[in-house]
């Protein structure tokens, strides 16, 4: 057994060494990253829900590179140097794109040479303002205001408000231990909306949890979220 082990090992190692030479391509070197913002403020969304697309023109076949937006509104893609077209597909996100001056469309041209930090300014339908969480007698209450940003022909109504709680920092309809909802007709004053829900038992026990509110805008698929907040029980 030992007799064959050594030649076998040498064989394996030499194969590994040899294949290194031929199989490896240069790795992508340019990182494009930033936030989706409104007036500098990141727009929070659901995990893996909103996606940007990068297209690199000039190739025979065109295939998109999908870039997911993080719950905090950030995005990041590791690609090769080159000229890219960045688009936010029209149905993505609780916002609309702002026309790009250079291309006269929602397409943004990105010339990558090394890393680039670029925030993308968009126009959300609403913004969540003055969001506060309070715990009283085992009940979590969220209070916040909604500011309507888009007031022209594209203006949209609120459909539903959700409150989500989870044990980790991922908080949305998929990742939650408890939720509450409020239909639009239950909102009297957009400047002071409140939603509450009994905090469920946390297993295994922990003395904090994470919470945020989501806003479903009528006719818009992706929810607008407040920033995730750590709340002490």
């Amino acid at each position: 057994m030992k007799k064959i082990l050594l030649p076998f090992l040498i064989g394996v190692i030499s194969m590994v060494m040899v294949s290194c030479e031929y199989d490896n391509y240069e790795k992508p070197n340019a990182r494009l990253y930033g936030n989706i913002v409104y007036q500098g403020e990141p727009i929070n969304v659901k995990y893996n829900d909103v996606k940007l697309e990068l297209w690199e023109p000039g190739w025979q076949l065109s295939n998109r590179i999908e870039v997911a937006v993080s719950p905090e509104g950030g995005y990041s893609a590791l690609v090769f140097d080159g000229l890219y077209k960045l688009i936010i597909p029209s149905h993505q996100g609780p916002f609309r794109s702002i026309e790009n001056a250079e291309t006269n469309s929602d397409t943004i041209l990105v010339q990558l040479k090394g890393n680039l930090n670029m925030d993308i300014e968009v126009e959300p339908y609403y913004m969540i303002r003055n969001n506060q969480f309070s715990v009283n007698g085992g009940v979590l209450t969220a209070t916040f205001a909604l500011e309507k940003i888009i007031k022209d022909v594209d203006a949209k109504d609120i459909e539903m408000i959700y409150l989500y709680m989870n044990k980790t920092k991922f908080v949305d309809s998929n990742y939650q231990i408890a939720d509450a909802e409020l239909a639009a007709d239950g909102i009297a004053d957009m400047n002071s909306i409140s939603l509450s829900r009994t905090i469920p038992e946390l297993v295994p026990a922990q003395d904090y949890f994470f919470a945020r509110v989501g806003v479903k805008i009528a006719g818009v698929e992706d929810l607008l979220f407040s920033a995730v907040e750590k709340v002490n029980k």
């Binding site: 076949l61 065109s62 295939n63 998109r64 597909p89 149905h91 959700y162 309809s173 998929n174 939650q176 939720d179 909802e181 006719g219 698929e221």
Partner: protein, 626 residues
């Protein structure tokens, strides 16, 4: 000398081989030449049979899993729990872009038209069948993808290096529907009108298909207004609202033309209405309701036998080491009306919050639509003459539960000295595959013949694609949308009467929810749900991704149904004198394997057209929201 001989032999051999032209032109014995095919009716029939076999299908008896993707059923099988553990349906789901199929049927039509040796009556019928199938293929594509390129002739590449002349843009969505309807109308008179032809095209199938196709187009035109973002500016997706009434009228006319036909009627041969409803899918002798099927034959050959009974048979009476996979959901079960035409959720507790005790496990389901027990095996019912054994355990007086981890597991009950069975041989047991994890097994399409549950035999039961009850419901829906609720009620009452709902609905009872629920209960597990939800544009509301409790409003079309629920019977154990000892209580239950809520996004209304297809043909534009 020898050398010369060899050379002579070689020359002779070569010379002889090359000389004879007919040697190289021998007709092959292992394949048929085209000219041979088109001179014989039976060989042409085999090609037509191939076109029938390739009929595109999504939910069908060979693919029981696909019925568990939505809210009709739970998948009690280790390999399929993921169907309840994901949230977003992928944009590519249910897609179909099969121009190979279209090309083959186009080639068939072209070559069959030129086949002079084929005798006329059968040639006309073959051509009509092929054109009907091509229309059906396009219907399958348009309901998944929206408008697709309408290719009605086979295309030939000329090897010039420039294939652009083969690229065709997408037709408008309504153009595809119009093409299908025109083709169906055109070939109708060439098809036989014979109620005994079930697995080939007939005039009845033609009319039934017309009513379904027109109804789909009509509802997209009408309800597409509710989802304005699901459309394309070139109308490749989306049908103008003003076309709705024309299509509804077409659907109603086609349906009523077929309903006037004497030879077809609803299946009413058995006294017990539930048995009758179940038998309708099995009875192959003089079945007046069934219009078009895919036929099966009990056989060792998996390609021709129907596996549904094998994979779904109750575990307690299984003829092989599998079964029990498809578990109808409580969501579906509670949609069956009570006999007074009202809806009600199941009463598990009284007003004070105490359990209600039932003497028999089936009692809680009594007094409902007969189709419930024709579609679903409820606790306390029988299959193949054997009692089912569905109960989740013993519930003690303090509310605690004693149950087991295996089928028919035994444990020691308090106050006893011998272990006894504490859970049914059919479950329900969470996460145990083949047990009735919702508390129900499926009955529709189940074959009661002996041997149908054996791997080596399987079932002869056919898969019903079109039947008369759907045509009644098509007529009812079209009439309702055209503002004729009295007519809608009349058509619906025919179907409802067969189900034991003898109090007729009147015009004022008819609303969209009624139309919706009648299709839900009558056509459950027949492959209609997804397409219905899509054309009514309520899929994104019903499957909205929110983890909500089971609706208390059964029969409401847009109630949230993102997760499947079950209803578990427990035996009450209180030997210390309680009169309820041994009776049954019920608990609503979310199966443990259901961890996520389904979300149908706006981009799911029309399946994604892959980048590969667009790269090959840049004239194709993407579907909305992708």
């Amino acid at each position: 000398m020898k050398k010369i001989l060899y050379i002579a032999i070689i020359f002779a051999a070569l010379g002889w081989g090359c000389d004879d032209e007919s040697f190289l032109n021998k007709e092959p014995k292992n394949i048929l030449l085209e000219s041979q095919i088109w001179e014989d009716e039976s060989t042409v029939l085999s090609i037509v049979a191939d076109l029938y076999v390739r009929f595109p299908e999504f939910q069908t008896v060979n693919r029981w899993q696909e019925f568990t993707n939505f809210d009709e059923a739970f998948a009690s099988s280790n390999g399929d729990y993921w169907r309840h553990k994901f949230s977003d349906y992928s944009y590519g789901s249910w897609g179909m872009w099969d121009y190979e199929l279209i090309r083959h049927v186009n080639l068939f039509i072209e070559k069959c038209s030129l086949a002079d040796e084929l005798l006329l009556p059968s040639k006309t019928r073959f051509l009509a069948e092929a054109r009907l199938l091509r229309a059906a293929y396009y219907f399958e594509m348009v309901k998944r993808m929206g408008g697709v390129p309408l290719i009605v002739e086979s295309m030939q590449y000329d090897f010039s290096g420039d294939p652009t002349y083969l690229q065709h843009p997408r037709a408008k969505e309504h153009e595809v529907y119009d093409f299908i309807l025109a083709e169906l109308e055109d070939v109708k008179s060439d098809l036989p009108n014979d109620v005994n032809i079930k697995s080939r095209a007939t005039q009845a199938l033609d009319l039934a298909m017309q009513s379904r196709v027109a109804l789909y187009a009509a509802s997209i035109a009408k309800y597409g207004q509710n989802t304005p973002t699901v459309s394309l500016p070139g109308e490749e997706v989306g049908i103008p609202a003003q076309m709705a009434d024309t299509y509804y009228k077409k659907a109603l006319d086609a349906a009523e033309e077929l309903l006037l036909e004497d030879s077809y009627s609803l299946y009413e041969k058995k006294e017990n209405l539930s048995d009758n409803f179940a038998k309708l899918f099995q009875d192959k002798a003089n079945n007046p309701e069934v219009i078009f099927v895919k036929d099966f034959l009990q056989s060792e050959d998996g390609a021709i036998s129907n596996p549904w009974t094998l994979v779904n048979q109750p575990w307690s009476g299984a003829e092989d080491l599998e079964g029990g996979r498809l578990n109808p959901s409580l969501n579906l079960v509670q949609s069956f009306e009570k006999l007074d035409n009202t809806y009600e959720t199941f009463q598990t507790v009284d007003d004070a919050g105490d359990y209600i005790f039932y003497d028999n496990p089936g009692d809680i389901f009594a007094g409902r639509d007969a189709r419930l027990e024709g579609t679903v095996m409820i606790p306390g019912s029988k299959f193949k003459g054997k009692d089912l054994d569905i109960w989740a355990g013993f519930m003690l007086a303090d509310g605690s539960v004693i149950s087991g981890a295996y089928f028919g597991d035994s444990k020691l009950l308090p106050g006893k000295s011998v272990e006894e069975q504490v859970v049914g041989y059919d479950g329900p047991i969470d996460s145990r595959e083949y047990s009735a994890q919702t508390g129900f097994y499926v009955r529709k399409h189940m074959d009661e013949a002996t041997g149908s549950g054996q791997r080596g035999l399987k079932s002869s039961t056919w898969w019903v694609r079109y039947r008369l009850a759907e045509v009644y419901l098509n007529a009812a829906e079209a009439a309702f949308e055209l503002g004729q609720p009295a007519k809608a009620a009349a058509h619906m009452n025919v179907v409802r009467k067969r189900a034991g709902l003898t109090i007729p609905l009147v015009a004022s009872d008819i609303n969209f929810d009624r139309i919706f629920n009648e299709r839900r209960v009558e056509l459950a597990f027949e492959g209609h749900q997804l397409w219905d939800m899509k054309r009514w544009r309520i899929a994104h509301k019903v499957w909205n991704g929110e983890k909500q409790e089971l609706t208390n409003d059964p029969g409401k079309a847009d109630a949230v149904q993102t997760r499947v629920f079950g209803l578990w019977p427990y035996k009450y154990y209180d030997p210390a004198g309680s009169e309820n000892n041994g009776k049954y209580v019920f608990v609503e239950k979310l199966p443990a394997e259901v961890t996520q809520a389904h979300r149908f996004r706006l981009g799911n209304y029309y399946s994604e057209i892959g980048d590969g297809i667009i790269n090959r043909n840049p004239l194709i534009i993407k579907n909305p929201n992708h």
